[in-house]
Symmetry: C2
DNA sequence: CTGAAAAGTTGGAGTCATTGCAAAATTGGT
DNA sequence: ACCAATTTTGCAATGACTCCAACTTTTCAG
């Protein structure tokens, strides 16, 4: 009833393995570290590693970290009179402006990005996560607008919004990788965000305005 | 001087291996067929397969097939007074309208898509090709407009255009997979193309107009 | 036409991710 | 302290991919 001491231990073990693995990957690169090494360094068997993580990439990219429904949450939380796109742009700007570590604006992110940058497997996994984001957003937009299954608009809008989100994230990654400080990158990305908003059409910017049913 | 009988044989062998592999993949799925089986069916050794193809996925998706520079070619070939986006949309419409097999509007494409759809490895490889397309287009747009390396616009426009291209290709794939005939899918996609053009802003639609330096 | 050099093919051994299975060790509750 | 559920582990196997040395075929100069 006490909600398992067992559960706690499991979560601990899982976190520990992931931390150990992350350290090794950052130190020596994703491909240069074998799962066996991770297991040894974490003092567990290889099978235990696979017991917690479905694949090697998940040791580094724990996608359960609430990234896939980020856009959906932002859209669902849009204010009265605010469109889906406006909400996404506003939230993005807030994160960038506040130099939030949630979007990679922090010291040490460059090292993290480098690992991804240098590993095709990790890059591909990043894309897969991005795909989940789009699919999730498509569903949310359909729910929020009541669009029929044949209406292609929600998917197109979802594509545009997740393009915007992905472009910002990629821009941050690239600039941090190039040695920028969080503050510098934040400043630059605000300009990019302005350019981006300028590139979105009114159709996009006015889709799914809350309270305009 | 006769430009090798050797070269001809090599190209033949390569093509043959790819054909045999494709047949097996369509018949039984990508993951269910081992490279060893492909090699045996093609009457060569596994090493020979790897001599021609860097990875198993390349047996099915031969990315040398001029897809990566498709957008760049379209943009470079834009007419006088035509923008990059207008050229891309025009070419896309032409392909769709003419029910071109180059973009998957042909019988048998569903079987081809099914293999990709069911294999994470192949889907991921498709994305990687898409990435090459964007990068290629970014460079082309910079060349065509003379934009400086710090101007973020070319990358943003490239992102929008390759989003449009990718969306159309994905739409075709999904509809063919769902059992549509090439003619039906062509008709539906023309409507999607109209919606899509409506979603692009004038900024995008008027970028890099030929002869408006 | 003939004998290397060059290029292509092959077999075999090895690494690594990932899976399946059954034995062994732990843990929670009684 | 004991039982049953849960975890952890060892072992074996599959399959992609690489490295390497031996072997065969093609090219080409003489």
């Amino acid at each position: 009833m006490a909600e398992g001491l067992r559960e706690r231990k499991k979560r601990q073990t899982r976190q520990y393995i992931s931390d150990v693995a992350t350290g090794l990957f950052i130190e020596r690169g994703f491909d240069a570290v074998t799962v066996a090494e991770v297991a040894e360094a974490a003092d567990v068997s290889v099978n235990t590693v696979y017991n917690y993580f479905p694949a090697k990439e998940d040791l580094f990219l724990d996608r359960s970290k609430g990234v896939v429904d980020r856009l959906s949450r932002w859209v669902r939380g849009r204010r009265d009179g605010e469109s889906a796109a406006a909400a996404v742009l506003r939230e993005l700007r807030e994160e960038v402006e506040s130099v939030s570590p949630r979007i990679g604006l922090m010291d040490g992110y460059a090292a993290f990005m480098r690992v991804i940058h240098d590993s095709p497997a990790l890059r591909s996994r990043m894309w897969a996560i991005g795909q989940e984001v789009v699919v999730d957003l498509e569903r949310t937009l359909r729910e929020e607008t009541g669009a029929g299954p044949d209406d292609p608009l929600p998917d197109l809008i979802a594509g545009q919004l997740s393009w915007a989100h992905g472009t910002v994230m990629a821009g941050i990654g690239r600039r941090m990788l190039a040695g920028g400080t969080p503050a510098e990158v934040s400043r630059e990305m605000l300009l990019v965000l302005d350019e981006m908003e300028d590139l979105l059409s009114d159709r996009v910017l006015n889709y799914a305005v809350r309270g305009a049913g």
